[in-house]
């Protein structure tokens, strides 16, 4: 089947199998490898991307369901001159990552959270990111990074 969607501002049309998951489409068809597949069961959040501005777990969305939508991945946050998005910069500044596997999903979930709530409390950040697991348990600095991003 044919799908047309906008990925990181670029409109594209592709022929895909109906069963192709959005996470696989982004990684293998679009070549955007920042989006990670972790648990593959809607639990860990490593595959979080934005669809029409809201955070979703792309391992549990068919590419067909994103037809006509605007999808943003971590690659789409960075400016054309390579400048980091404020949330990315805050994760770097506050050391909001250890092994880095959960980071793209954490950053995308944080961008989604801040769009809804521009100045969250620590508790609101923790609740807002409850769908993202960090196996290094580096949550403390992640929360700090999101709060730093909110202030910048």
């Amino acid at each position: 089947m044919q799908v047309s969607l906008t990925v990181n501002g670029q409109r594209r049309t592709d022929e895909v199998e109906p069963r192709l998951l959005l996470a696989h489409y982004l990684r293998e068809v679009c070549g955007l490898r920042a989006t990670n597949l972790g648990c593959d069961t809607t639990s860990c959040g490593a595959c979080t991307v934005l669809v029409d501005g809201t955070s979703v777990k792309s391992c549990t969305v068919l590419t067909a369901q994103a037809d006509g939508a605007e999808v943003t991945t971590l690659e789409g946050l960075t400016g054309s001159d390579g400048e980091l998005h404020p949330v990315q910069a805050a994760f770097r500044q506050e050391h909001g990552l250890q092994c880095g596997f959960c980071t793209p999903g954490m950053v995308m979930a944080a961008v989604g959270l801040l769009a809804e709530n521009p100045d969250p409390t620590d508790r609101e950040v923790r609740e807002g990111l409850e769908g993202n697991l960090c196996r290094c348990t580096g949550y403390h600095n992640i929360v700090r990074a999101v709060r730093t991003a909110a202030r910048s």
């Binding site: 089947m1 199998e17 109906p18 069963r19 998951l21 696989h24 593959d40 069961t41 809607t42 639990s43 959040g45 979080t48 809201t54 955070s55 979703v56 777990k57 549990t60 969305v61 068919l62 067909a64 369901q65 037809d67 979930a109 989604g112 959270l113 609740e127 807002g128 990111l129 409850e130 769908g131 993202n132």
Partner: protein, 280 residues
């Protein structure tokens, strides 16, 4: 993990969806947000040959108040229910479903049609005495919450029908409480309790309690309701009534909790939910 192959139809109307269901019979499944169905398909526990996506069907989204009841389109996502605070119990429970990403995709109609006794909204619908509207080959019908959940993951919505709308009474004058116990915050409830209480002075005029994950289907805690209705509402009466929360239940044991532990949780959570609903 990748689902088995299937054909995909993007329905443009309820009628088009109904025609596809009629043509493909048991081989077809309706797709709403996909957050119950797609995980099952990825694990190959479900393998429909035809998926009928309702996303582009007009008229299935949105929340309206009308003549003493709420009308919620079946494709309305949990995030939108959660942010409509006037819905009371339903908004509170919807805001505790899984996590933000899941709430952004999962729909009220999909959740109720899936009928998982461990998910939050079925017991809420039951406690609120709401209903769902379904359209089928012979027109439209209403299914009351008490008649909706038949067995484990089995509802009264026919294979040839589309659940189009959820109705909830406005429940003016009722206080509500919702308690859910999980190991990780995004998990399904080990046990959940929905409570609605209407009081005149300190007398309990009406009380309705829904139990999540205490059996193959969501259920009402009728023994608790009977013990409390017409009685004064205080810490002692609530505790005494809540101690009957597990009566008549047959909770499934799982990796997280034995059946006995769930019975214990039901009593504790019922006391907390009632205390909150009574404003004590």
């Amino acid at each position: 993990v990748i689902p088995a192959p299937f054909e995909y139809l993007r329905a443009r109307s309820v009628e088009e969806a109904l025609a596809a269901l009629a043509e493909h019979g048991d081989d077809a499944k309706l797709l709403a947000g996909g957050h119950s169905l797609l995980p099952l398909m990825k694990l190959r526990l479900a393998a429909p040959l035809m998926l009928v996506d309702l996303r582009r069907v007009p008229g299935l989204h949105g929340i309206q108040r009308e003549n003493g009841s709420w009308r919620i389109g079946a494709m309305t996502v949990h995030t939108d229910v959660a942010s409509t605070g006037e819905l009371g119990l339903a908004a509170r429970a919807a805001g505790l479903i899984a996590d933000q990403q899941v709430r952004n995709r999962g729909t009220i109609g999909g959740s109720l049609a899936h009928g998982d006794p461990a998910s939050d909204l079925p017991a809420v619908l039951l406690a609120a005495e709401g209903s769902v509207t379904v359209q089928g080959p012979n027109g439209q019908r209403t299914i009351e919450a008490a008649d909706l959940f038949r067995d484990y993951l089995e509802t009264s919505v026919g294979h040839d029908e589309v659940l189009t709308e959820v109705r909830l009474p406005t429940l003016d004058g009722y206080g509500h409480g919702y308690e859910k116990f999980t190991r990780r915050s995004e998990d399904w409830a080990m046990v959940g309790v929905s409570a609605l209480v209407k009081q005149t002075g300190d007398i309990c005029e009406d009380v309705r309690i829904g139990l999540t994950n205490m059996g193959a289907v969501p259920m009402r805690a009728t023994a608790v309701e009977q013990a409390l209705r017409g009685q004064p509402l205080n810490a002692e009466s609530i505790a005494a009534a809540a101690s009957r929360a597990a009566e008549g239940t047959d909770p499934p044991a799982d990796l997280n909790a034995s059946a006995d532990y769930k019975r214990h949780l039901a009593q504790v959570l019922c006391r907390r939910a009632l205390t909150e609903a009574a404003g004590l």
